[in-house]
Symmetry: C2
Subunit: 409 residues, 2 copies
């Protein structure tokens, strides 16, 4: 089985970090000058590994193996959050590169076809997952036309500026791939807390967002008796607190929900709120549970409306993201590889954050592996993982890739 | 007993409205050019009524009766909110003028000493109740030095601009006054709802403001399990909802409380709130009840802190305003006068809004009467009262004043 080169893997990760490094983190949002430079550097690394390297018209960097299929495509994204961690995305990209190199270097696996990839804009500077969407043929032209960067630049303008507007876009080659693999830092502390080294992802959780809008009547906070009030905030507080009481009754160990925004209008201490609004988000890999949570919200809203004082509406604030189930056969290969490199120190687990496989699993079997995040910190300059954990994850990825392709061919 | 001149009363109110009239309301903030013009006009009206009229160094306009005491001083403020109602303040000022005129015109009451007054800046453009505070000797030089108008002009600058910086300030003449009377629109709908015409104010309620600050830890809303979270907003919602459940158990019919502001940081749907803050205000005429409410808040905060997850602090966000108890003897005169002009259609009631008697009652016995506000609207151009209600209130004020002074002399 292939043996990864730990020094090379870590050096490539650190070299990639140099593009946009700030403190321990990275500022390398999609389509920034720094991002484009790093993508050209990545294409060179892919070429050095014997892959046919291309940057396509949306910024995806693909390193295509010259070996015939069945192939695996392995990677992640190399763009970052506005103040991102150095491994978020980068880890999975360099694992793809290292898996391709390690397999090529071992006579027993040198015939296997491993394509490496860095998708563009997973983090949604202009349009989340635009790279994987484009490659899968699921990029909507309306969404693309409306895409604007965080700095206000339209995507179309930025594509001209970075010289990509006339560059062809790559599409998935039908029939070539046995699947897509992606590694990522956990972005939570579940593995670290359990003293484990590898997470075999079962599914990327579904996400639903709801907006709960309470309509009352603004009035003077001194002269309006309690009996006459239509205080929109009282309904908001009641519903928010009751959500936090009712959701745990149905939740499983990994279900999460968050009320991250609350607005009161007009927002003055001497004025009775005429309007109040909550943003609720919840995530789980079980659609039935997500439906049940929506039902709880509907019941709480109905109970307030039945009193006839405050009028409350609850509606979805975003298109629901359905759970993305990872391929069980591919998971099994990763699990076996994990048991070799980290015996007894791995587990199956869902991903609570979104990743490109949410897009790709509609076209290809997908699987993901996680390595531990120190203190579970993510989307922050302080995000980090131990070198030894990075190396073990890289070996698991290479082993799993070889195992999958040896079985498939 | 004195008989007011309804036409004259209503004409003076409408003439005063002309200074700053916008739609049905008035824009006449304290020390504005419009306010200063209206105060000079008022001084002329006081002089026409046979009173010795003076505008003092903070803009108070006093019409002093030439009759020996014991005297009553009757009035209110003629400055307005930035977008104020036409009767808020003005009504009480013109009632004072009309009471003085009506008593002077009746041989049975012509010997009574009634001073009319318009206090300056009750509405707090530069410094709330600066006029009555100055007259009562309770104006703090530190507060005055720090006073700045809503337009950013320091008070000292504005006093120079309006020509008052070298004008003497009037002080209460010790021994002259049997008390201070003020009429005001109710600013609520309690009288209107009950079909009543006069409110005899028992007390101006005390006001307390509290700030409830919840400290948690910001984190990723997908990857942080519920068990590991320190979501500051969950504590905020719990405390807010529990306040709304617990306060009614102690409240009386006129107690009010309001959570008018809620802040969540950072305020994004995918980020667990690290900080959340509530602004709570409550009003009642019973200090013991206000203390008990603070106790409820302290208990709720302690219960959350005892769990050791979210750290909550509750503190007073403003100096407490203590309830101002109106003089029971003066109340009785107003009640008797109300029973004459509005038999069976008056009641004792607290004032839920603040007024100059909060300052003056520390020096003189005070009483207030309310007339109905249409739909309870206040601090809005749409504020209004029926002419017939204005006239009845004016007669009750004149009758009460005569009755008080006849008894005192």
């Amino acid at each position: 089985m292939p043996k990864i080169n730990a020094e090379r893997l870590l050096k490539d990760l650190r070299d990639l970090r140099a593009f946009g490094a700030v403190e321990n983190g990275v500022v390398r949002p999609a389509f920034s000058d720094t991002d484009m430079e790093s993508r050209r550097w990545l294409a060179e690394r892919f070429a050095d590994a014997g892959l046919d390297a291309t940057m396509d018209g949306v910024g995806n960097v693909l390193g295509r193996s010259r070996k015939p299929g069945p192939a695996l495509i392995i990677g992640s994204h190399s763009d970052t959050q506005p103040r991102g961690g150095w491994l978020d995305g980068a880890l999975g990209v360099i694992y793809g590169l290292e898996a391709a190199r390690a397999c090529a270097e071992d006579p027993a696996t040198a015939h296997l076809a491993i394509d490496a990839v860095s998708w563009q804009d997973e983090e949604g500077n202009y349009l989340g997952c635009i790279g994987s969407r484009s490659w899968c043929g699921s990029l909507n032209s309306v969404d693309e036309a409306a895409a604007v960067g965080r700095d206000g630049t339209p995507l179309a303008t930025r594509l001209v500026e970075v010289g990509l507007s006339d560059t062809p876009r790559l599409s998935m080659e039908e029939g070539r791939y046995a699947g897509y693999l992606e590694a990522h830092i956990e972005q939570g502390a579940y593995l670290e807390d359990a003293g484990e080294l590898i997470g075999v992802v079962t599914a990327i959780v579904g996400i639903r967002g709801m907006s709960i809008k309470c309509h009352g009547a603004q009035n003077h906070a001194g002269t309006t008796t309690m009996a006459r009030r239509k205080d929109a905030a009282t309904a908001m507080f009641e519903i928010a607190h009751r959500i936090n009481q009712e959701f745990p009754k149905l939740a499983n160990e990994r279900t999460v929900w968050t009320i991250g925004q609350a607005t009161i209008e007009p927002g003055a201490s001497s004025i009775i709120p005429g309007y109040a609004e909550l943003a609720l988000q919840f995530r789980d890999s079980d659609v039935k549970l997500l439906d049940a949570f929506e039902g709880i919200v509907a019941d709480l809203v109905a109970a307030v409306n039945a009193r006839g004082v405050i009028r409350v509406e609850a509606e979805r604030s975003r298109p629901p993201i359905i759970p993305s189930i990872m391929d069980s056969g591919l998971q099994e290969h990763i699990a076996q590889a994990a048991e070799v490199s980290a015996p007894g120190k791995w587990r199956h687990m869902p991903s609570a954050a979104g990743h490109d496989p949410m897009v790709i699993h509609e076209k290809l079997p997908c699987a993901m592996l996680f390595i531990p995040s120190i203190d579970g910190i993510s989307h922050d300059f302080a995000e980090d993982s131990h070198d030894s954990d990075i190396v073990i994850g890289g070996q698991v990825m290479a082993d799993a890739a070889a195992s999958i392709l040896l079985e498939a061919s």
